[in-house]
Each structure stands twice: as C-alpha cells, then as structure tokens.
C-alpha cells in the first residue's frame, strides 16, 4: 500500500461508481460502455493514447458534458450534474489540462471566484480577508512563494498550475468532508521534478484523508509512481484494470496498443513506393521554445508520419509547414527552392495545403454552402480575370461530392448540417481540388466515423499513388504507423527517432511509443 494508510478502513468504501458510460458525438462514439469504480483513499490512474477517451470520461465525471448513456453514483446516491459548479457541490473537482485561471485577476480572486460572497459586505469584497484566506489555502498545498494578491499573468505557468490545484482542492474539500473526488488531467506537463514531487505528496495526503483521485498522464512512469490502480483505455473502451503493483510500462504499452495492426485496414499493400525526388525539405527547422532542429526530407508520393504525444511539438511543426505560424529558425525548401511562409496563402502558392486539426473551428465555414466550402482553395482555377464561372464551380463541387460519396441533399446545403465524416470529406475535397502536390493532414480522421475513416485511408493511398506527398499527424498511433511510409517521432520538441515503414517492415507500436514517452 503506497499511501501509508490503512487499506481496511477506506478501500472497501466505494466513493464513485460509473456504469455503462458512453458518449456519442453526432453518430461517432468516443466512449463505449465504461464501468469505473473509485474507492475512498484511492488514487486511480487513467492511461491511453490520444483519443482513447480519457478526457471525455473526465469531462463526463466533472460535469462539463453529460454522458449519452449510463448512470453514475457519488457517495452512494445518484450523481447527475449539468455543470462544473454542480459537480463542485457534490464534491467532484477537476484540474483542467488547459489553464482555466483568469489571467487578469489576482491569485486570491481566482481561488475564490464565484465564492466571493463569504468575504463581502453589501457587495463590497474585503480583499485583505480574501488574501489571507487564500494564503492559508495555498499553504495547505505547500505553496508559500506566491503572493495571493499577484495577478495571475505575472506568475509563471508552473505556479499557475499549482494555484489551480490548490483552488480545486479547496472547493471540493469545502463541499464534502473528505469524501471528494479530484480529477487531475495531465497536471504534471509544466511542472519541474521538485514541483511534481510536492504535488504528488499533496495528492497522497488528500487521498490519505479519504478522498478519491483520478490521475491522467501521458508519462507512464508517473502513473506507476503515484497510483494504486490503473485503468487502461483504447479507442473509447476500457481494455484493462490493473493493480499498480502488478503493472509495468511494458504491460501498459501492450494494453494501450491492444491488438496488433491489421495492415489491411490501412491498405498497406497499396502503399505507394516513394520516388527519389525530394519535394519538401526542412533543415534545422525550429520554433523558439516549442521545437528545435527538425530536419526531414519528404519525397514524392510519400506519407511522412509525425508521432508524439500532445505537446511534443508535432502540432507546431505542422502549423509551420502550412504557413499558419512562422518558424524562428531553419529553412523550408519546396522543390529545392527556399521558401518562407507568412500566411497559409504563401504555403498554398508554394503548393502546400493542410487539412486542419479542428474541423469546426479551423476547417469548415459553417454558414456557407458545401459548394463554397469545397471550392474555396481552388477559386483561382475556376475563375478567369477574377470572375468565377458558377457553372464550373458547380461542376467541380458536384464532381467531388460524387467522387468522395459525400452524403448531402445538394451542393447548396449548409455544410454545418453535415455529419463529421461528411464534413471532413468536403474538406478533403477542398484540399485535393487545389491540386497541391504537398498536403499536410493534421488528424485527418479526428471525429470521423469508422466507415468514413476507411474511405479517407483509401483516398490517401490513391493520391499518393498519383504522386501527391503527405505529411501526416495521425489521430492514433495505429493509424500513423499503418499509413506512413516513414515515421518521425518527437518528444519534448526534438526528434527522437525515425522509422522506415515500407510495406511489410512496419515498426511495432511499442517501439514507437518508447521513443515518444
């Protein structure tokens, strides 16, 4: 028993129970029939690849989103909450992955945001009292170096994370007498080793008093160090529950990865043999503070997969390649010619276009029709002297709708009415229609149903056969290995490995994961 407390007293007492929890977003199931039990005094780990459903489960438990089906119980009574505040009242608090502090308020104001009334007289807050209380709350978590009256934007990121943790612990422990459930979603990403250890000490103390903790991290070593039990997720399903004492990194890798890739799903046999001419080359490409010295050569007809956990810098590399962000060092050469991109338009002129990661925000123009969405990047091709031929535009849109099998009531339908898979196909149509020889596919199958996934895979095979080159950030590792002809693995902003993945020589997922984490 790790936490040095009496197992007999707490463990049999169930704190939180979830049964049959599922979540579906528009026909796309991201979480399937999850049963989860958290006991008092327990620290449970949650591991899985990106998109395995960990974050979704946490969102459901913390009241951000309701489950599509399933029941939950907290402290023996049914638990249903419609908001984070609701969850707080029931003693469930989450420390979010993204910083949820308001930067232009002070530390104390953040800790007591929404709970100022206890310090106020006739609507006027007694700040001194609030600051003193905040000081005490933070001292409970061993934070003594942050003045509570400092604005959050003036304190470093790691400190913000600790303030956030202190805040959540205070909220939930006020709501219930040590019968709280605390959710930690990757709290350690920005912490130094010492800070992390003090956080772990605090988490153990919390658990020792009888609270339950769910801990999510990409770093398996931390999960193994801190937790009592580990839930392993893959593709929205629970693949294993292990006692930490019986788990090791290798076992976890295996369970996270699940079955071996069935190569046919990714049509590896149809993988194009890349030619020798290099179409895109980066040399020591860097973005200050995000990634450094990324060099690779992309050949014609090749699929170059970039793997890494979220925050490894792969997303930023992608943004730089498609011109959305600028590099701070290094060079990009397209067909041997040095190029600098100020905006995605420059990249498009050079022949690079991307399928963005966030379809709703960066991909579709929801208010406009399918036609306008599909032809957006190829208007120049369809126009002469700046005047678009509507006939050509209709034909182009219609031909893509038929070719990719986009299910819609017509090319004038608003694209926001399409399902995720069909909207994604429309974006593929836009990108392919632009005739760009280099495509950056940033999570091309995110939020897409299984059927459309298969179609997108065969589409990628088809275009690479025609000589289009692809830089791919896979939605899952499985996918990245399955599709790529070569893989670049990144960790903490540097390239840690490179694999040749020609057909029949695919590296195993465990090999790749080991370089990632």
């Amino acid at each position: 028993m790790k936490n040095g407390l009496n197992e007999r007293e707490f463990l049999p007492r169930l704190l939180f129970k979830g049964r049959n929890l599922s979540k579906t977003y528009g026909g796309n199931t991201v979480l399937r029939n999850i049963d989860i039990d958290i006991y008092r005094g327990e620290i449970a780990g949650l591991v899985g690849e990106n998109g395995a459903g960990k974050s979704t489960l946490l969102k459901i438990i913390s009241g951000v989103e309701p489950p599509s089906t399933g029941e939950m119980e907290m402290n023996g009574s049914p638990y249903k909450c419609s908001s984070i505040l609701d969850a707080h009242r029931r003693g469930v608090g989450m420390v979010f992955q993204e910083q949820s502090l308001t930067a232009n308020l002070t530390v104390a104001q953040n800790i007591y945001r929404g709970r100022e009334s206890r310090f106020s007289v006739l609507g006027l807050v007694r700040w001194g009292k609030m600051n003193a209380a905040a000081q005490k709350v933070m001292a409970a978590v061993d934070i003594r170096d942050i003045p509570p009256d400092r604005k959050v934007w003036n304190i470093p990121f790691a400190a913000r994370q600790r303030v956030e943790i202190a805040k959540v612990l205070d909220i939930v422990s006020n709501a219930t007498e040590d019968r709280s459930l605390i959710l930690l979603d990757e709290p350690t990403t920005v912490l130094s080793r010492e800070e992390m250890e003090s956080l772990f000490r605090e988490v153990r103390k919390m658990a020792g008093r009888g609270n339950g903790v769910i801990f999510v991290s990409h770093r398996l070593s931390e999960v193994l160090e801190l937790t009592d039990r580990i839930y392993v997720f893959k593709d929205g399903e629970k693949t294993a529950v292990l006692k930490t004492s019986e788990a090791s990194e290798d076992i976890l890798y295996e369970k996270m990865v699940g079955r071996e890739t069935t190569g046919e799903y990714y049509l590896s046999a149809r993988q194009a043999l890349p030619s020798d001419d290099v179409v895109l080359e980066t040399e020591a490409l860097s973005q200050w503070g995000v990634f450094i010295h990324v060099s690779f050569k992309l050949r014609r007809g090749e699929v170059l997969g970039i793997c890494g956990v979220e925050g490894s810098g792969k997303e930023a590399v992608c943004s730089v390649l498609c011109g959305d962000e600028s590099a701070t060092g290094g060079t990009i050469r397209v067909n041997g010619e040095k190029r600098t991109f100020v905006s995605p338009k420059d990249a498009l002129d050079a022949g690079i276009l991307s399928v963005p990661r966030n379809r709703r925000e960066d991909g579709i123009l929801g208010m406009l029709s399918i036609r306008e969405n599909i032809t957006l990047s190829s208007l120049k091709k369809l126009a002469s002297h700046g005047v678009v031929s509507l006939k050509k535009q209709n034909e182009e849109a219609l031909s893509w709708v038929t070719r990719l099998g986009i299910k819609c009531s017509g090319i004038f339908q608003r694209i926001s009415n399409l399902s995720g898979g069909n909207a994604q196909k429309a974006i593929f149509a836009r990108v392919l229609g632009s005739d760009c020889p280099i495509l950056v596919l940033d999570h091309p199958t995110r939020g897409v149903d299984v059927g459309s996934k298969g179609e997108i895979y065969s589409l990628i095979r088809e275009i690479t056969k025609r000589g289009v080159s692809v830089v791919l950030l896979g939605d899952t590792l499985d996918e990245c290995i399955g599709l790529a002809s070569r893989i670049l693995v990144m960790k903490d902003g540097i390239v840690t490995g490179e694999f040749d993945c020609s057909h029949g020589r695919k590296p195993s997922q465990v090999e790749v994961v080991q370089k990632m984490m």
Binding site: C322, D324, S343, P344, K345, A347, L348, D349, L353, S354, P356, E361, D362, G363, I364, L365, G366, M367, L368, E372, L376, S377, L379, K380, A383, G386, V387, V388, L390, R430, S434
Partner: protein, 332 residues
C-alpha cells in the same frame, strides 16, 4: 433498441420540420418587414403609394442605396465601417465646390477619393491590426473635419452659371430621375461582384470563419481591404449624388446616413457578425428605411424624432436576425 431508434428518427423528423419552417421564416423576414412597413403607411395615408410619392422616395433612396450596398461588403466580413457618412459629406462638399471649375472630371476624382479612403481603412485594420470599429470611428472624425474646413462650416450653392453641369442628374429618364438608374446600375455591379468574383466569395469566407478561410489559403487581408474599398466607393458615389441632387455642398449631409445605411443592411437580414447576406437584401432594406423616413414625413412626425426611430429599428432588426442558436457566441 429498435423502438428507441424509431422515436429518435421521429424526433429528428420533427426537429427537421421545425428547422425548415424556422429557416423559411428567417429567410424571408426582410421582405415581410418591407411589405408590412409599406402596408402600414399606405393604410395611414393612401397617397403614400402615389406616383409622386414613390418618385420622391426613390430619389431619397438612391444615395442611401449606394452607401448601404458598399457598406454591406464590410459587414459581410464581420467588420464595420462608421466612416461612410463622413466620406459622403466630404465628397459632397468637394464636388459642390469644384464642379464649377473642374466640370465632369470631378466624378473620377471623387471616386478615387472614396477608394483611397476605403483602402486606408482596410490597410489600417488588416496590417496594423486595429479593430475596424476604432479605425473607422477615427476616420469618420477626420473626414468630417475635412468637410467642415473645406466648406467653411456652411452649405453653399453651386453657382447658377454652372447649374447646367449638374441638372442632368435630376432629369427624369423613363419616369425616374437619372440618379435612381445610376444607383441601380451600381447595385447590379456590386451584386455581380458578390456573386461571381473571387474577391466577393473570399469576403464571405472571411466573414463566415476567418480562421478557416485563412487555413484554406484565402488572402484574408486582401478580402477585407477590398470590402472597405467598396464601402468607400459607395460612400463617395452617395456624396456626389447628393451634391448633384441638392445642387449645393452640404458639409453635414452624411451625418445621419451612416446609421441609416447600417439599419438598412440589418433590415435586409445581413448578419452583423458576417458571412451571410446579400446586396439585393440591402436594396430591400434601403427601400424599407426610405419608406419609414418618408412615411414619417407624411405623417407629420417631427424630424428630430426620426433618429430615435432609426436607432430602435436598427437594434430591433439586428436582434431579430442574429444567430442565437450558436453556443458560446461572443458578441463584441
């Protein structure tokens, strides 16, 4: 399970039907609005739709139509242009002052001025990243001042000797004055730009989702600059038409126009947040606004009260048209 699926399909059908009705209603609100305004004034005073009255209204509507059609493009991008009235004032003064000396050569010069004013707005918004609200508010102040300085603060008539130069604009042509036809012709050009040009399509793309448009390789800065240029062009034409119509230079002619133009666009159902709308809808909006204005005149409403009505109409029209179903929509 099967039963559940069935009820789901049924509710889907129900919500689809509802969506369809809602869609149809929101699509034609602007026409309904125009018809009811005209209808109401007609009931109050049947002379409202007499030939004389309609001719008058269209003469009133012509400059407003030009300005509103131009400003529509800015609103399609989700930006706003508050400088149109001041640009019109300025152009009106310059035209009135110099038409006697320069002759018809003043027309291309003033068009150039309008384009330049819009270009400046657009460049400041896109290159210096200043919100369009601020940029055009400041531009408004600048152009207003130019108009006042140039005119010396008061209206001046175009000298009788040069009147012949401007008379053609008010001469009827096929029952209606030439300026009405000019306004209509410019509207058609704007409609063509909106429907068929690459720039027009990009302007809508920027308004619908600027991030996504940028990621798709659209030159968003260029699209916005063009939108402001069209707006400046429309304002300049409006100012010129006023000078020709009133045969004088009036330094404060544009003051109420900005509000009227934006009200007209909003009444047409163009979204203030961008991405949706049409200059044709703006035409209907302009007719509605003009009908309200003339109707109030005929009903004997004090001119001072008119701006109150426009203000209320603008807020009402925007409230009716804004997309409320969108979660987390932040209105700035």
């Amino acid at each position: 399970m099967a039963a559940q699926t069935q009820t789901q399909t049924q509710t889907n059908m129900g919500s689809k039907m509802k969506l369809f009705v809602k869609d149809a209603v929101s699509r034609y609100t602007y026409i309904l609005c125009a018809v009811s305004v005209v209808g109401a004034f007609y009931v109050l005073n049947p002379r409202f739709l007499s030939m004389y009255s309609v001719q008058n209204m269209l003469v009133e509507a012509a400059p407003l139509l030009l300005m509103a059609a131009g400003i529509s493009f800015v609103l399609f991008t989700g930006c706003i242009d508050l400088s149109t009235g001041a640009v019109a004032s300025c152009v009106c003064v310059l035209t009135g002052t110099y038409v006697a000396r320069v002759g018809h050569g003043i027309i291309p010069l003033m068009i150039l001025l309008g384009v330049a004013a819009g270009f400046a707005n657009g460049c400041i918004v896109t290159k210096l990243k200043v919100p369009s609200f601020i940029v055009t508010l400041c531009a408004q102040s600048v152009w207003k001042c130019v108009a006042l300085v140039q005119s010396g603060g008061g209206s001046k008539n175009i000298p009788i000797a040069s009147r012949s130069l401007v008379l053609w604009a008010s001469k009827p042509f096929l029952h209606f004055p030439a300026i009405c036809w000019i306004a209509l012709a410019v509207l058609m050009i704007f409609f063509f730009i909106q429907q068929k040009s690459v720039v027009g399509k990009n302007i809508f793309a920027v308004g619908a989702n600027e991030r996504a448009a940028r990621m798709a390789g659209v030159d968003t800065a260029k699209a916005k600059i063009y939108a402001f240029v069209y707006s400046g062009l429309g304002s300049a034409l409006a100012g010129m038409i006023y000078a020709y119509k009133l045969k004088s230079s009036v330094p404060n002619i544009g003051d109420p126009l900005n509000l009227m133009a934006i009200s007209a666009v909003a009444l047409g159902g163009t979204l203030m947040s961008g991405g949706k709308g049409s200059v044709f809808r703006t035409l209907v909006g302009v007719l509605t606004v003009t009908a309200i204005s003339s109707g109030m005149n005929m009903a004997g409403v004090d001119a001072f009260w008119k701006d109150i009505v426009y203000g209320v109409v603008l807020i009402g029209a925007i409230a009716v048209n804004s997309e409320k179903g969108v979660r987390d929509l932040v209105v700035r």
